[in-house]
Symmetry: C2
Subunit: 363 residues, 2 copies
């Protein structure tokens, strides 16, 4: 795995800038990857993770930053895609000097990259990072932070699911549909609420007993099943993967009874080709990064000065975007995942190009 090109060395990775940062005294080793700034400053969180080696860290940050570029583009944000990883054990290595050294490197990029929380980093860490840089979101509410981003993530997924329902059945309403939710984490819980309000029947599973207890107490009308296999082979209309990545794979797709997939998990397609498998089985797949962008929409709103209603309005547009993508897929005869990538590429090229119309004497 190289930085400029993939392992084989033939295919360019396509990233605009990849920045290795280190500060020996605090122990900081971070990589900030900027996939594209065509639409605006690259926004993406900072993952703090004990990678086995440098190559794994590089691989992760390159993949994640690319994903953010497509997500932010389809979220309609004026933001490019980026991501950062701090190579270390957050429990052992996180410290004020390390986080602040990291903040100085974020600042050194002059606003080409905005950071946020990700696995292993929390709002209080972003508050610390913010003591060294202006280019940070995901802060605590006391510092203008957007708060728990699972709220608009779930809202956006619900909107994306409604668009898929309309495309499939002619009406966006989920009333009377059986929706299977895999994963009753924060997003899964909010999504359950939206679905029940809309009149859907919810079937759910989780790996945690506490989630089951929550469901029994809060929404006794939810059907609980033992595991994901039971869920996807049951009589559901919509499957909503809301836990780990790779939910759609060579084992699950062939047995899936739902004809719509719309969930909150990242990287639902286990490998390239699964999108075709879904298409062949007649399953309508609402691309993950399109419908789960409510979270980044919520966090990105901090840049303007957080306003929940404005962010919610923007997340509501996930409905329109998903419809457009499903129509484009139909028109062009490609799976929705491919249509989404095309639409994102197009937006980056077409809107990015507008900067050739210069507004003043500037570089």
């Amino acid at each position: 795995m190289g930085v400029f090109s993939t392992a084989g060395g033939t295919e360019p990775t396509g990233h605009e800038q990849v920045v290795f940062c280190s500060d020996q005294q605090s122990g900081l080793r971070a990589i900030i990857a900027i996939y594209s700034t065509a639409l605006g400053p690259a926004l993406g969180g900072t993952r703090f993770y004990p990678y086995a080696n440098e190559e794994d860290a590089i691989h992760d940050v390159l993949e994640l930053s690319r994903g953010m570029a497509y997500k932010n583009a389809m979220a309609g944000l004026d933001l490019g895609g980026g991501k950062a990883v701090i190579w270390g054990d957050p429990d052992r290595d996180k410290s004020e000097p390390l986080l602040r050294a990291y903040g100085r490197f974020v600042e050194s990029l002059g606003g080409r990259y905005y950071t946020a929380c990700d696995v292993g980093t929390y709002v209080q860490d972003m508050d610390m990072v913010a003591r060294e840089t202006r280019f940070v979101t995901g802060r605590s509410e006391a510092h203008g932070g957007a708060g728990d981003s699972s709220v608009l993530t779930a809202y956006g997924v619900f909107q994306g699911m409604r668009a898929a329902a309309e495309h499939r059945w002619g009406s966006p309403s989920l009333a009377g549909r059986r929706v299977g939710i895999a994963g009753l984490g924060k997003v899964g819980k909010h999504l359950t609420r939206h679905l029940l309000s809309d009149g859907a029947q919810v079937v759910a599973t989780d790996v945690s007993q506490r989630a089951f207890e929550w469901a029994r107490e809060t929404y006794p009308q939810v059907d609980l099943v033992d595991d994901v296999t039971a869920l996807i082979t049951s009589d559901i209309d919509v499957y909503a993967p809301c836990a780990l990545g790779g939910a759609l794979n060579d084992d699950t797709v062939p047995v899936l009874r739902a004809t719509v997939v719309a969930g909150a998990a990242n990287n639902q397609l286990a490998h390239p080709g699964v999108e075709k498998l879904l298409d062949e089985r007649g399953v309508l797949y609402a691309p993950d990064y399109v419908i789960n962008s409510g979270g980044v929409i919520q966090v990105a709103d901090e840049i303007e000065g957080f306003n929940f209603e404005r962010a919610k309005l923007r997340a509501g547009k996930i409905y329109d975007t998903t419809r457009q993508i499903l129509l484009l897929a139909q028109e062009e005869g490609v799976p929705p995942a491919v249509a989404a990538d095309r639409m994102a590429d197009r937006r980056m090229a077409e809107v990015g190009r507008l900067r050739t119309i210069r507004l003043r004497h500037e570089r």
Copy 2:
């Protein structure tokens, strides 16, 4: 070879920031390595070279930028150390879009890195890069450039050699000493002139017949010998390697008849340990990066607005610095190369630390 640590993965490379930059349409693939900004913005040239692979490019830029940090520190400049490589064939790949894309990435670092010419890049290239960034030296004279930096490189080497002569023989004069110059390139030619003016006898060699012709015509008093082996085994007092790196190695040091080595070439020590070999043979080695810094002193002066006399004064101080290093080596019982590294590390730490005395409300 990693970016954060050496091949074995045990020893950190120690670089502050390493920035991979790419622009697919112009074909740009560049790596900017900043070893340290403790003393000021990192200054170092841009090498344009067709590396076999990404690893070779990384290895080169990490080594070169580290070298620049030590060179700039010992040159007494308020500049840190950096270097950049553009991975490509300069004859085939160099273009306006590529150079300007590179310039935008230099600009994106906000002045943490200043670039300059190196192998494969010329003043006209820096003029092109300067159309996108303020942070560039090595420009054409019409644009305030310092011109041919071999002038002060040779002057500095001469001053370093004088300091070594004083340390060895009690007087800085080279009158009556036999000095062997390997390499009659631009620096070697200027050095010949300085030495002859001082009353030294010059013995020289080069791989090019044209250099021999130049010597016969310009300075018929110079003794010319066939090759480096003939030069270093002849009866010389001072050996001045002024061509490729690695001049001091396991083959040459044992047969060297000079008792002083002071030359313009970079990386004269072929591998770690050669400095001890020289010491054991009683050869006084004036560290390469200390005495060949006249070139970077000349180019760096562009940042203030080039003034040859000011730059020459500064290059003249190579005499004092070399004396100090040779004394320190004697006091601490280490080879001069080790003493130079220690003094550079000390300056980076002690002067860098001064920024803890804050001058205003700033980051």
